[in-house]
């Protein structure tokens, strides 16, 4: 299938859905409206809401806050994941001792931590960053740990036979291998950074996309909720596209760049 047809079909799906939504929420079928506007709003209202946000410029502040929170969560979580992952992989004893605790914390649904973080760090951006960090950290940590552990024996032996010292092995073999595993999970970890930020905002904040959605919901403004959802989706798609570009650059040496972790 050519790219043009594919794109046309993709757009067609969106059009069909939106038209159906509009019709079912405005035109009565057998004397009854199937999608009552109070619960489902309608595309026109949602679109108007989005336009209003962008026209008045209020949305930028919220987008900016969510973006900053996501980036901070991603950077801090990744840094911690890389360092601890490396440390555990190189020190099996440490890994063995902490293993049950790592599993325990990872098994915990992160949402329950949100109130605690709000208590500790206040309602500003840092409680959201903390929530995102707990999500990102484990993804990066497990990947880096795996990456260091699963360096090919032959490649390691080759490094040794070429005369590499432990430090050089670290730099030329372990490090690139660990990073490649981390980058292969980039989509997931960036996605989770956004999830952490938005969920945190939703549960208590004064700004951000999650706050916007929560506010709209609080006054039963369904159009506002849907509008927030659409803006959020577009935001995530844009970020994901950015990640794809970064990934293409960083993993050129990989056979399949599109393999998403």
């Amino acid at each position: 299938m050519s790219r043009v047809t594919l794109l046309a079909l993709q757009i067609l799906v969106a059009i069909v859905c939106i038209v159906l939504w509009q019709l079912l929420s405005t035109v009565p079928l057998f004397g009854k409206i199937l999608l009552p506007p109070f619960f489902f709003s309608n595309p026109v209202d949602v679109f108007e809401q989005i336009v209003k946000w962008f026209a008045s410029g209020v949305i930028w502040k919220h987008l900016w806050i969510t973006l900053v929170e996501s980036i901070l969560a991603f950077v801090i979580g990744s840094l911690g994941g890389v360092l601890i992952g490396f440390w555990f992989a190189r020190q099996p004893l440490v890994a063995a001792v902490f293993d049950p605790y790592v599993k325990m914390v990872n098994a915990l649904p992160r949402v329950v931590l949100a109130p605690i973080f709000a208590l500790w760090l206040g309602l500003g951006i840092w409680s959201k960053v903390a929530l995102g960090v707990t999500l990102v950290f484990f993804i990066v940590f497990f990947n880096v740990y795996q990456g260091v552990k699963e360096v090919s024996r032959t490649v390691l032996d080759n490094g040794r036979m070429l005369g590499m010292s432990e430090g050089q092995l670290m730099r030329h073999v372990y490090w690139p291998s660990a990073l490649s595993w981390m980058f292969s999970s980039l989509h997931t970890s960036v996605g989770f950074a956004v999830v952490g930020a938005v969920v945190g905002e939703y549960l208590g904040s004064a700004a951000g996309l999650g706050y916007l959605i929560q506010q709209a919901e609080g006054v039963f403004d369904v159009a506002g909720v849907f509008a927030g959802m659409f803006v959020l989706s577009a935001f995530v798609i844009l970020i994901d596209y950015g990640v794809t570009l970064v990934e293409r650059r960083l993993l050129v040496w990989r056979p399949t760049v599109d393999g998403r972790g």
Binding site: T154, V155, M161, L162, G163, H172, P176, W253, R254
Partner: protein, 272 residues
Amino acid sequence: MTTPTAVALEDAKVAFRLGDGRVYTAVEKAHLAVAQGEFVAIVGPTGCGKSTLLNVAAGLLKPAAGSVKIFDRPLAGLNRDAGYLFQADALFPWKTALDNVAIGLEIKGTPRAEALPQAQKWLTSVGLGAFAGRYPHMLSGGQRKRVALAQVLIRDPKILLMDEPFGPLDAQTRQVMGNLLLDLWNADRKAVLFVTHDLEEAIALADRVVIMSAGPSSRIIGAWRVTLARPRDIFEVRMDKEFHALHREIWSVLKDEVMKGYAQSTHAAEAV
């Protein structure tokens, strides 16, 4: 002997402790000497421990008994005089062909600016001058072996250890690689220990062919000197009368071991 001995295995025994506590003896009392400038090929049936022996010479494995001497000095730790060409892909997948070759020098502390032109020269001499920017996965199996060869040779090791390096390649590529290896080797005649299961390849390349018995507890059961004239062309040398006579002679010994090795491996499979 007038020429110094590059690698000497003296009654080397290699044993592994198995998971259930038993000890598996891979190689028993191996006695082998490779003179400087000599090309020795080790041939044996699958699972006879020939790669194990090579790892002992490399210092990657410690012998359970006996000793390893490199230029008359006992080997402690890794063999720093040796370059090792692995059977499996051993290139760094995150480095380009050029960086993969240059790393050999960079490890020694050569500045990158100096290492890169030399690496390019080596890539050219293995016929990959135009592929410097490619990553290993963009190269064919034969091309990857060429890069690996350049990676090892750029460090100018006194000894070359090769573990079925051309094993994964197709028959034609193997011959081309064999000729390339001989050409490069002819330039400065390093001591070479070349492990293979292919007797023809061994005779075509080596000065001396060493045969190992089927494992476990395999031993070296014979050695034949190959007096075919050098420089050789692998395509041509296979037509030589002497080649055929030698092949027949060695094969008569090797055949029994191959059958034994085969019987043992199927037997072991049944026991499991």
